[in-house]
Amino acid sequence: MELRFSQADEAFRGEARDWLEAELAGAFSVVRGRGGPGDEEALHDERLAWERRLGEAGWIGLGWPKAYGGREESLVRQVIFNEEYARARAPGRLGHIGETLLGPTLIAFGTEAQKTRFLPPILRGEELWCQGYSEPNAGSDLANVRTRAERVGDQWLIEGQKTWTSGAHWSDWCFVLCRTDPAAARHKGLSYLLVPMDQPGVTVRPIVQLTGTSEFNEVFFDGARTAADHVVGAEGDGWRVAMGTLAFERGASTLGQQLAFQHELDAIIACARENGRSQDPLIRQRIAHAWSGLRIMRLQALRMLSAQADTELSREGLVTKLFWATWHRDLGELAMDVLGPDAELAEGPGPGELTPLQRLFLFSRADTIYAGSNEIQRNIIGERGLGLPRAPRPTDTRGQT
């Protein structure tokens, strides 16, 4: 058992840290700390330039195979880079959907032509992607997708609506889960299409959230088109491909996120010190508990990094999402209780003019809902982790997420 990183890995960490410090001290200092939750719209052009700078320096696709332009670094090093990225308060990534979801999916399921066409612009930070999965009637029940795609000549013709698509209005491409065989049941008959966003058949409408800001969008496909060969995996095999993407999404790379959590907890502790509630025994208990939970989150991630087996199937991997989502939601409530009556005071009169801790409080309510709600997570843990029997259901839902 060894919790410290190897010298070589620490050297890599130093390299990443130095690079980030140097870059963010210069022309890019303006983007430092920007683009986080609730701030996604900030400084788009500058952050796009930052993406390209990252790509130039070889920090995108760290873990991708060398054959596809990546650096084939270990998971440990990817995690170290994420940690340093968060520690440096480098800006929210515009390109992370392409890098962490679409890229690995193409590498696993794509044709060589698709890889050649789509991977290099991701590595250069030049093409941005968004994810077209959720629909108004397919939230937790993703297999219920109704967006249809029909083959017409050498093109797919797409009709339907996606929702909760972050970055849709700035993305160049969207990977869209579509029903291509209307006769097939649920997760059969779906296909995974790559669709260009800049076309008349695609309309993006922002969703105003409870924060008064818009980080997500509805995307309407109304006769949208894409080339026939822009289907990943076989036609009708979209469910398997999409589940692969979700597996990437739920991987071990949560250590960067945890540093962001640490920043939030630090802010709460600072606030408690300032207003004196750090002396309230009830608040002290809750801060100590939150601190412990965050420490455990990091330890769990290190366990996953250390595991030889497929992390997705390990028990500690299965509980990750439920644990951090619940922890983060509780942190938001703690923040408000530490602030006391001042918790109410916003930064300005506009609907979106909230303080960082208010944003934390409100945004963290989504954590227990999106990417597999707490209820879905508990089903998965019970059934896959513990082998408990499924409930009798009117329809087959084996592939629920």
């Binding site: 929702t163 309510r365 209820e375 329809t395």
Partner: protein, 373 residues
Amino acid sequence: MRFALDEEQVALQRAARRLLERWSPSAAARDAMETERGYDDALWQRLAADLGVSALLVPEALGGLGLGPTALAPVMEEMGRALACAPLLSTVALGTNALLLGASAEQQARWLPGLASGERTATVAFDPLGDARRSEVRAVRDGGSWRLDGVVTQVLDGHTASLVVVAAEVAAEDALALFLVPGDAPGLARTALPTMDRTRRLARLELHGVSVPPADRLDGPLPGAAALRAVLDRARVALASEQVGLAERCLDMSVEHARTRVQFGRPIGSFQAIKHRCADMLVDVESARAASWYAAWAAEHAPDELATAAAMAKAWCSEACFRAAAECIQIHGGIGFTWEHDAHLAFKRARASLALFGAPANHRETIAHELGL
């Protein structure tokens, strides 16, 4: 022994619900919360004229209905259910109660008729933590009058109230006293504060040498701090009732959604994860209702029990309401996270109410103290 609403209270509740359903649907509250005032005066006038809410507690001889806190409870439940934006909590639960509990008969005769008619609104300016023993405002003798200086943050509807009852420390007496200050008094600067819950306004009041004639220092049977404590307790009771109504609204929204939203081929309310959560919300709502009714009864009939009853009701209803509002978002999933859905209005109101007039932990400490621990 009959622990239930009387017939006339039930009738009042029904009338309030009808009025608010008609004149304060969600869209109206959303409009009102975008105004600087924070409420729609036409709604307030309707509540006053058609329902008599402003006159509820005022003695009949002064133009009121002469009812007690148990009559206010069902009205507050409906205000909570509707997420209504109106200066009821400030004018009736704080202002009118301050005059009823702290003012002389003469002072009551001078001020209560204007409050009863709805013509004037009122509030009380006190410590934002809900501590009735302290104030950041100092009152000193200045010739024949009083001179008030200091700042009170987070005064409910403080930027619009026609009349502000200000709690101030009178150093010479080593005691707290209550002073009547018109909203437009010279030296009184009022600033609306931006708040997370946009359905209820708080304001910062700065008093720079505000002059108060001797007749406007409250001079009732209860001394300043005792009167203020009783006023705050009554306000806690009213707020607790509002929280019950809001919690029930959240439960109703959740149940409706759980009945109709289909996932995995079933209404989600048929899943125990959702069903059991709704069941827990019902436990919360009904237990909170019992606590709030009891506190209202104590305010009316058993003043000795009021401090404990109000603390219990406010602590219990605050947490029940917050849990219900939080579950309401969770059960609604993504749609509950949008601005257009009412879940966030309830959630923010529930959070704001949790801290208003003292947080649950403070109230439980009060109970422990009253139990002699």
